[in-house]
């Protein structure tokens, strides 16, 4: 297809879909929601996901964070076409998420993956390569590459029933990237891995980003998200609580600095500046307003105290996460209270 024709098709598709045209996002979730009917007669609705709006740009590593049961896996399953949404729609790589052809450019690692255990790792990857439409010669080369990548070359002829949990996770990652996807969804990719394995997966995700692949991964391990993600979204009880760049989310503290000096002495002048001081071993850690930073340095100099470090204080992702979850719970409590009040 010529570039002009392609551009025309994209533009007309955007106009027909009634959405404003802009540079293509890798993932556009437009109000996806899911309600399961539960109970013996399937009459009782249970909301698994509130209407979700989210955009992930191409080339991003995007973390989808939330505690267990928050709705992360439900969202991923809907995007993969495994679960049907109650309402809403989504676009992946500029096309409808239900389009089977778009899936040729997508890789997916489910949570705690389980594979056909009567196959060897090589046979499994060969089968998945066939289903993804990878041609014979390419398939053989790619299988060797990805097996080497996840450190399973020596086990490629072993049946998967003999694999450990960590090895299965590696096979899962291998199958997700086998066909050179432009977009990879990883559901709890570090689960079941030892520290070394986790490090390798982190490296792999970073390498995918360098190759231009968009990575969308769900996790409840915040250190992984903090180390890897360009942006994160936090979801709790099916509701989106916050989205943003990690820098943005964690720099929202309050304009404070942390001053550390050697010794156990806390000068009175520091207390006068309003510093909160904590002695720990042979160092003192003080937190004070950023505009008092110069005055604090002067005070320490006057006392001939050796300054160790001054750093702007940032919220950790964990603190932000906990704050968002607590806010979400409070809001839910308020809503319940309000509606109960309305009934009365």
């Amino acid at each position: 297809m010529s570039p002009t024709l392609l551009a025309y098709n994209l533009l007309s598709e955007a106009l027909l879909a009634g959405v404003p045209f802009r540079a293509m996002a890798a993932i556009e979730i437009l109000g996806l929601e899911k309600t399961y009917m539960v109970g013996f007669w399937r009459k009782r609705p249970k909301r698994a996901l509130e209407p979700l709006h989210l955009t992930v740009e191409e080339g991003e590593i995007f973390g989808f964070l939330g505690p267990n049961g928050a709705g992360k896996t439900t969202t991923l399953k809907m995007l993969m076409g495994l679960v049907f949404p109650t309402a809403g729609t989504a676009r992946l790589l500029g096309r409808a998420w239900t389009d089977p052809e778009v899936k040729a450019q997508i890789g997916f690692l489910p949570e705690q993956p389980y594979f056909y255990d009567y196959l060897t790792a090589q046979e499994l990857l060969d089968y998945y390569g066939q289903l993804s439409g990878v041609s014979g010669q390419d398939r053989k080369r790619r299988i060797d590459e990805v097996l080497a990548h996840v450190g399973l070359t020596d086990s490629k002829d072993l049946q998967l029933r003999k694999f450990s949990k960590g090895m299965l996770q590696r096979v899962g990652i291998a199958q997700a990237i086998l066909h050179h996807p432009r977009l990879v969804f990883l559901d709890e990719p570090m689960s079941g891995l030892d520290p070394l394995g986790r490090r390798e997966v982190r490296d792999l995700i970073e390498q995918l980003k360098q190759e231009g692949t968009t990575v969308f991964f769900s996790t409840h391990i915040l250190s992984d998200a903090e180390a890897l993600c360009d942006r994160v979204a936090i979801i709790h009880k099916g509701q989106l609580c916050g989205v943003g760049e990690i820098e943005q989310l964690t720099s929202s503290v309050q304009g404070k600095v942390e001053v550390i000096w050697q010794g156990t002495q806390v000068p009175a002048s520091m207390k006068a500046l309003g510093a909160e001081c904590h002695v720990s071993g042979d160092t003192v850690r003080a937190v004070l307003a950023a505009n008092q930073q110069d005055a604090a340095i002067d005070a320490l100099r006057r006392e001939h105290i050796r300054l160790v470090a001054i750093t702007p204080l940032r919220t950790s992702l964990e603190a932000y996460f906990v704050e968002k979850l607590q806010y979400s719970q409070t809001a839910a409590g308020t809503t319940v209270g309000t509606s109960a009040g309305a009934k009365v």
Binding site: K77, V83, P113, Q130
Partner: protein
């Protein structure tokens, strides 16, 4: 046929082979060779009749058991073990998955029947010392048995697409038993009146008519089978299989994979 259907079918066949499903052939071979030796020693003039009857009945029963017990797990096992997730997240349509699974199981049964057929003809040669022209009818009986397997596979898949393996096995086995008496059920419907007749006739035509596919007795007695019966049974089996598979696809297309 879509290449993806072929890959899914081939993987289903491989699963059956690696799960040692074809080991049933050993039991079949032992049964048939034992029976042939036993029959050749005790019966006079009816060795052929006994071997053909016993052999074809065993082919049918072994196949039905395999079709039901593998067929009921074809979809539900993949959902329970979540192996389906990494298949359907690829450019594989749900209907391709169902059809691929069907052909994989049908292929397993055809290969199984092929080896059993060799066993039947071997036993026949052992007791009769030579083949005669009416023995070719055994091939027609085997063809009808394969048609029977196609229907059972499709029904097992249909039940597997919405029900648990245990319930699916019960449904499929019940339909096999009822379907084996379909001619009697139709005869009974003709004897009734009013609502009962309407209901019995509906049920008689809804269940698969396995009795028309069972020609073991006429073949054992070397009675001829008309070309019309072969055509009629072929069309009937293909139609019934297509209907059951369509039902399985329709249900599976709408199913949430939790």
């Amino acid at each position: 046929m879509s290449a993806r259907i072929v890959h899914i079918a081939r993987n289903t066949f491989r699963e059956a082979v690696r799960d040692r499903v074809l080991y049933n052939l050993i039991a079949f071979a032992l049964l048939l060779s034992g029976a042939a030796i036993f029959v050749s020693q005790i019966s006079i003039e009816i060795e052929r009749l006994v071997v053909v009857n016993l052999g074809l009945t065993a082919v049918s029963l072994f196949g039905v058991v395999i079709a039901i017990f593998i067929g009921i797990g074809l979809v539900s096992k993949e959902i329970d073990k979540r192996t389906l997730y990494t298949v359907l997240s690829r450019p594989v349509r749900r209907w391709e998955f169902i059809i691929g699974k069907f052909f994989g199981l049908a292929g397993t049964l055809v290969v199984n029947t092929f080896f059993m057929a060799i066993g039947v003809f071997g036993a026949l040669l052992y007791v009769a010392h030579k083949f005669s022209k009416p023995d070719a009818l055994i091939l027609v009986a085997l063809y009808f048995i394969i048609l029977e397997f196609l229907i059972i596979c499709s029904l097992a898949l249909l039940f597997s697409s919405f029900s648990s393996p245990l319930l699916s096995a019960m449904f499929a086995f019940s339909l096999f038993v009822i379907g084996s008496f379909a001619d009697d059920l139709r005869g009974f419907a003709r004897l009734t009146h009013g609502f009962t007749r309407w209901f019995a006739t509906g049920a008689a035509y809804l269940v698969p008519n396995f009795s028309t596919l069972n020609v073991i007795s006429p073949v054992a007695h070397q009675q001829p089978l008309g070309a019309q019966l072969i055509l009629q049974n072929s069309l009937y089996a293909l139609f019934y299989t297509a209907m059951a598979l369509s039902g399985a696809v329709l249900i599976f297309e709408r199913r949430n994979l939790k």
